[in-house]
C-alpha cells in the first residue's frame, strides 16, 4: 500500500473508535447524573452506594475491568463475549464514576442558595434539581465533560486488546502487513490528536463563555 492508501485504511476505522467513545460517554453520562443525584438525596444508603461506586471505579484501571469482564465474566454471561459491547460497557462504567465527580462538583458550585430559592417558591426537591440546579450544573460541567470525551477516545484504544476492530487494530494490521513502522503509528497518533483536541478545546471555550455570560 502507498502511504495514502495506508492512511485511508486507518481512517476507515475511525467510525468504530468514535462509536465506542460516544456510546460509552452516553452510558457514563446517564450513570454519572444518577450517581450525582444519589449523593444529594437524604438517604444514607443511596449516598453510601454512590460514594463507594465512585471511589472504586475511579481507582481501578479500565483495562483490568475490560479483561475481567471479557475473559472472566464472558463465559458466564454471554453478552460479555462480545468485545464491542464489553468495551463500551467497561469504558462506560468507569466513565460513570468520573462523570459523577464532574457533576457533583458542578452541582456544588451552583450553590446552596439556589436550592433554597427554588424550594422557597414551593418546588419539590426533585423539581428543584431538575429545573434549577441541573440546568446550571450542566453548563458548569461542560469543560469537564469535554476532557472526559477526549479521555474516552484515547481509552477506546484498549478495546483492540480484546479484539475490537477499531483504529488501533487497523494500525496494528498495517504494522504487521506493511512492515512500515513509523507511518502507521505516527499517522494514527495524529488522527487521535485531531479527534480529541477540537472536542476538548471547543467545549472548554464554550463552557467558560457560557459561565461568564450567566454569571455562574
Amino acid at each position: 500500500m502507498t502511504p495514502i492508501e495506508q492512511i485511508i485504511f486507518l481512517l476507515k476505522a475511525v467510525p468504530v473508535t468514535l462509536a465506542i467513545s460516544l456510546l460509552s460517554f452516553l452510558f457514563g453520562l446517564g450513570l454519572g447524573i444518577l450517581l450525582a443525584f444519589m449523593r444529594i438525596f437524604e438517604s444514607a444508603p443511596l449516598r453510601y452506594l454512590s460514594d463507594s461506586y465512585e471511589k472504586f471505579f475511579r481507582s481501578v484501571p479500565v483495562l483490568a475491568v475490560m479483561l475481567l469482564l471479557y475473559f472472566g465474566v464472558g463465559p458466564f454471561i454471554p453478552i460479555f463475549k462480545d468485545p464491542f459491547f464489553t468495551s463500551v460497557f467497561s469504558l462506560g462504567i468507569v466513565s460513570g464514576a468520573n462523570q459523577s465527580q464532574i457533576f457533583r462538583s458542578a452541582i456544588g458550585s451552583v450553590g446552596r442558595t439556589q436550592m433554597l430559592a427554588a424550594i422557597s417558591i414551593g418546588l419539590t426537591r426533585f423539581k428543584a434539581l431538575r429545573y434549577v440546579i441541573l440546568p446550571q450544573a450542566l453548563f458548569l460541567a461542560v469543560p469537564g465533560l469535554g476532557s472526559e470525551i477526549a479521555l474516552l477516545i484515547k481509552d477506546s484504544a484498549y478495546s483492540f486488546i480484546i479484539g475490537v476492530i477499531e483504529l488501533m487494530k487497523h494500525t496494528d494490521i498495517l504494522r504487521a502487513s506493511q512492515r512500515s513502522l513509523i507511518l502507521p503509528y505516527v499517522s494514527s497518533a495524529i488522527i487521535y490528536v485531531v479527534m480529541t483536541f477540537p472536542v476538548a478545546t471547543f467545549l472548554d471555550k464554550w463552557g467558560s463563555r457560557k459561565k461568564k455570560e450567566l454569571g455562574l
Partner: protein, 220 residues
C-alpha cells in the same frame, strides 16, 4: 482464590514493577513537566511551539500508540536496542510530563506573578526566593494535581502489556493462561489495583490537608 497463593512471588514481582514504573514515570515526568512549563513561560516562540506540540501529541493520543511507536521506532531510528522497561519508563515519563506541564505552569505563574517583585524588593537573592517563597507555595498548589497524576499513571501502566512488560496485569494474563480461571484472577488483580490506588490517593489527601494553607488552593 487460594490457587493464587501458588503464584504469590510472581504476583508480587509484577506488582512491584507496576509501582516502580508508576513512580519513575511520575518522577521523571515532573522534571520534564517543569522544563516544559519553564519553556512555555520563558521560551521564545520556537520553544513554545515545540513545547505545545509535545504536550498536544502526548495528551491527545492514546498511551498504547505512544508505547508502540517508541517500541518499534527507536531501535530502528537509532540502532540502539532498548529493553522494554526502558521503553516503558521513557514513554510513561514523556506522557506524564505532558500532563504535568499544564498544572505546573499554572502553579508557577500563580506564585511568580504576585510575589516575585515583593521578594526581590526585600533584597532576597534569587536562590533564596526560589527556596523559601516559590517552592513551598508551588508544592502546596500542585499536590492535589499530583495525586490525580499518580492515580491516573498507576492505572495507565496497564497499557504496558502491549509491549510485553511483565507488570501486574500481565501476570494476571499469564496466570490465566496456566490456570484457566480468569474470573478469580482478574477480580483479584482489579481489587489490588483499587486498594493500591485508593490508598495512594488517601495518603496524598491527608498530606495535603496537613500542609494546606487557606487561600492557597490548587489552580487546576
Amino acid at each position: 482464590m487460594l490457587f493464587l497463593l501458588d503464584f504469590s512471588t510472581f504476583l508480587i514481582s509484577g506488582f512491584l514493577i507496576t509501582v516502580e514504573v508508576t513512580l519513575l514515570g511520575v518522577g521523571i515526568g515532573l522534571i520534564l513537566g517543569i522544563l516544559a512549563a519553564l519553556g512555555d513561560i520563558y521560551g521564545g516562540r520556537i520553544i513554545r511551539t515545540i513545547v505545545n506540540l509535545y504536550v498536544e501529541f502526548f495528551r491527545g493520543s492514546p498511551l498504547i500508540v505512544q508505547l508502540f511507536l517508541f517500541y518499534f521506532t527507536i531501535p530502528m531510528l537509532t540502532g540502539l536496542s532498548m529493553d522494554v522497561m526502558m521503553t516503558a519508563i521513557l514513554t510513561l515519563s514523556l506522557n506524564s510530563g505532558a500532563y504535568q506541564k499544564g498544572y505546573l505552569k499554572g502553579a508557577m505563574e500563580a506564585v511568580f506573578k504576585d510575589q516575585l517583585m515583593a521578594a526581590i524588593s526585600l533584597g532576597l537573592p534569587m536562590w533564596k526566593i526560589f527556596l523559601y517563597v516559590v517552592v513551598p507555595q508551588a508544592l502546596r498548589i500542585v499536590i492535589p494535581a499530583w495525586s490525580n497524576e499518580l492515580a491516573s499513571m498507576g492505572k495507565s501502566t496497564t497499557a504496558l502489556i502491549v509491549i510485553g512488560v511483565r507488570e501486574f496485569l500481565n501476570t494476571g494474563i499469564s496466570i490465566t493462561s496456566q490456570t484457566f480461571r480468569p474470573l478469580e484472577t482478574f477480580a483479584f488483580i482489579t481489587i489490588i489495583y483499587f486498594i493500591w490506588i485508593y490508598s495512594m490517593l488517601k495518603a496524598l489527601d491527608m498530606l495535603y490537608d496537613k500542609i494546606k494553607i487557606p487561600g492557597l488552593e490548587p489552580v487546576i
